[in-house]
Amino acid sequence: MVLQAVFMLFSAMAVGAALAVVTNKNIFHSALFLVVALLGVAGLYVLLEAPFIAVVQVLIYVGAISTLILFAIMLTRRLMDASERQRNEQWFISAIVAVGLFIVLVLSVGQVHWPVVHTDVPENHLNRLGQDLMEHYVLPFEVTAVLLLAALVGAIVIARERTR
């Protein structure tokens, strides 16, 4: 009962803030609402008994990605600029498409019978995750590392100002 209420709270937080992200006229406020939405999703992870993922979500999404986005907004907008028009002409069609997709998804989710297993998460799950990352999934893990390095170098090269 309490769990359901907490779930409602976090999902309302995530979905409500997400709506604000896409509709708010002020792009800086949108980015701040994105932080709220990401925190709500982190709360959902905690409810799903994946606290590690929740913390990593806060660390990477809130700590790194949102901050980067806020930074980019600060760098690409003149200070206290009056808000420009933020929606394009096709916003109405987009809204119809999005709502339509949502209805289809909800209907199909209701149709499927998922083979739910009623087991608890093992106690030493975190150790298991670390071990798997280093043994079973070591190749994708290393590839991710290379990807991150490439992204890092690429971002610096692209965003750096040319010095004459």
Binding site: V2, N26, F28, H29, L32, V35, P51, F52, V55, V56, V58, L59, V62, G63, A64, S66, T67, L70, F71, M74, L79, M80, L126, E161, T163
Partner: protein, 397 residues
């Protein structure tokens, strides 16, 4: 006797049992959680008030002055007078501010500053919640501070505020990496990310003995994360007026002030838990109430060290600061993590005695420091040989 020895924990449990008699169990849990939160927050607020006094007194002593001595005996009531003054002052708000953001930022800063205390163990059995990812949780909370700082800088509608906010974020980002890496070597040796388990693992030996470099890196990065001198560039009065909280006054300013001191306390508390054995000390097994005294004594020792540093060292320039993080601390922490992993594995393989293992750790740490110092010296000499001013390295356009 058994009751007396574990006084606080037993008292707490007794209250819970009493409540359980006329409340449903979930309500008891809720009340007890709330009570724990209130106790911790009140403790922190009182700590902060007297930390400000301690800082002023210590800095005054170092500068050969007396410090606050007018309000109450030895100026002991000074923090209360300061708090009253801040509360009574007007809450100014610039007309061009981004009002909701401007008003929210202090609350977010204060919340983010208080959140780590949910997992920090103050003594044996005295922890809000022993989660198995406590260390990661504390690191991730600091990213909320980053957001709040950006909000404050932007919300004021002041360009000094924005500049200060951006500098603060650049600094926090740069120092978070070596900080996390230095914690990595602790996690490697103790095999856990839970703060309680890390404390328990240091019963025989404090980790600072095996990991002096990690401790040093952690302390430097922690000071930078908390915007403490000599890394207080984001709020350098002489360059940026006051950085990201330039437009704040009254209670809202008090929130930033409070958060800064709480962050300093958090850094010290985390360093104590990770490297100085947390609440471990002699006779803790028999008299558990001593554990909280040990913990606070160690934390205040580190706080004193930070105040001492602030009073002694001049402020770093922003490029020197970023250089320190990326070119010195990051390689050091990275190499330390690697060496720790290798030494730990090899020592376990060849069944080295623990004294010898620590000797190897010390040796490897010395070699690391030597290598970094050599590299730095060589680059310094090369720059001077090319006729460049070696103190200027980054060119900001």
């Amino acid at each position: 006797m058994a009751f007396l020895s574990d006084l606080l924990v037993n008292l707490w449990n007794w209250i819970a049992v009493q409540l359980d008699q006329f409340l449903p169990s979930w309500a008891t849990a809720l009340v007890m959680l709330f009570a724990a939160a209130v106790v911790i927050v009140v403790f922190l607020l009182l700590t902060v008030m007297f930390l400000t006094l301690l800082e002023r007194k210590v800095v005054a002593r170092i500068a050969d002055r007396i410090g606050p001595n007018r309000v109450g005996p030895f100026g002991l009531l000074q923090p209360i007078a300061d708090t009253l003054k801040l509360i009574i002052k007007e809450n100014t708000e610039p007309a061009k501010a981004d009002h909701p953001v401007f008003r929210l930022a202090p609350a977010v800063v204060a919340t983010a500053a208080l959140m780590p205390y949910a997992v920090i163990p103050f003594g044996r059995g005295m922890v809000g919640s022993d989660v198995n990812i406590g260390v990661l949780y504390v690191i991730s909370i600091s990213s909320l501070t980053v957001i709040a700082v950006l909000m404050a800088g932007w919300g004021g509608g002041n360009k000094y505020g924005v500049l200060g906010g951006m500098r603060a974020v650049a600094q926090m980002f740069s120092f978070e990496v070596p900080l996390a890496l230095s914690i990595g070597s602790v996690a490697l040796l103790t095999g856990s990310l839970s703060l309680v388990a890390i404390t328990e693992a240091q019963r025989k030996l404090w980790l600072i003995v095996a990991q002096p470099i990690a401790f040093l890196v952690y302390l430097l990065c922690g000071a930078a994360e908390a915007n403490r001198a000599p890394f207080d560039i984001p709020e350098a009065e002489s360059e940026l007026v006051a950085g990201y909280h330039v437009e704040y006054s009254g209670v809202r300013f008090a929130f930033f002030y409070m958060a800064e001191y709480i962050n300093m306390f958090t850094t010290s508390a985390m360093a104590t838990i990770l490297f100085l054995g947390g609440w471990q000390g002699p006779f803790v097994e028999r008299v558990p109430i001593l554990s909280i005294a040990y913990f606070l004594a160690k934390v205040y020792g580190l706080v004193f060290l930070m105040i001492w540093v602030r009073a002694t060292f001049p402020r770093l320039r922003i490029d020197q600061l970023l250089d320190l993080s990326w070119k010195v601390l990051l390689p050091l922490a990275l190499m330390n993590l690697l060496v720790t992993a290798v030494v730990d594995k090899v020592a376990a393989q060849v069944r080295l005695s623990s004294t010898l293992t620590i000797g190897v750790f010390w040796g490897s740490n010395l070699v690391l420091v030597g290598v970094v110092a050599l590299v730095l010296y060589l680059s310094y000499r090369r720059k001077r040989a090319r006729g460049l001013n070696p103190h200027y390295q980054i060119h900001w356009h």
